[in-house]
Amino acid sequence: MIMLNGQRADLHAGETVVAVLAHLGLDGDARGVAVAVDGEVVPRDAWASFALGEDARVEVLTAMQGG
């Protein structure tokens, strides 16, 4: 089961980060966005090639107002 931002997502092992972004309605070069999988940064240039493992925990983050 793939967890995306703390919730179950209709994604499967083997899918790439680009697929995750598409799932969120984002294109593959979304600016202002960062992705972590299982507690590690997935660099932007690896988004197209990085494949999710079983039970991957994916975090997709962006800017928010904050002190």
Partner: protein, 286 residues
Amino acid sequence: MADPLSLPMDRVTSDAVPAPNGAVQAQDVLTIAGKSMHSRLLLGTGGFPSLELLAEAIAASGCELVTVALRRIDPSPTHPRGSLLDVLATAGVQLLPNTAGCHTARDAVLTARLAREAFATDWVKLEVIGDEDTLLPDAPELLRAAEELVDEGFVVLPYTTDDPVLARRLADIGCAAVMPLGSPIGSGMGIRNQYNIALIREAVDVPVVLDAGIGTASDAALAMELGCDAVMAASAIARAQDPVAMASAMRAAVEAGRLAHGAGRIPRRLYATASTPAQGLPDFSG
């Protein structure tokens, strides 16, 4: 210890020079990690009721460096992605991503790395919180995270306590500035320990940015009079009844405090010292 507002001038490092019109001269720049800024006011973007008010407050404050946080993306159309970044890009300010909400060095380091990916900057305002009620920094975790991030090439600006020893340790590690608190985040309690802030200014060779606790303009002026190189304000502006007016007030206060620090205040005395000479005083006795 001596009155921190009356430090002997040879122990005060200031290049603030009043121009003939009274404004701080253009060459009085704040330099952090090689970046020169004319504004000595940093702005936190949190707490503004709207992006429009944030944009107006940025303009009124004159700030050139603003903090942003990193949070889970909300794909719903009510949160148009990038709108905050658009506002900040239009304002022409540099982003200072923070690690707010992190409680361990590990989380803070990961957040900094993600911020570098998202915003293409290696600057980070490092926050590692050790207590939920006071939001005070966790010193051991903060040092650990700072060391790791400096090693990875980040420009690290740590949010720290008002402990001069910890500030020196952070500077020794290679932090680009130190950001001691005046009082807890969002408390508006001002600078609780002026002596420590003055000691921190003497203890480190990197810029000192007074962070957290600023309640109103006089707090910001006091920070600058104590020798701080800059002031960061977030809640004090964003949650003021009129954030844009308060942004203007903070800008003026930071400039006034900077000038006053360079000017060197008179010592405090218990008794009066006449400002009009007694010489030439007429004798009206009959």
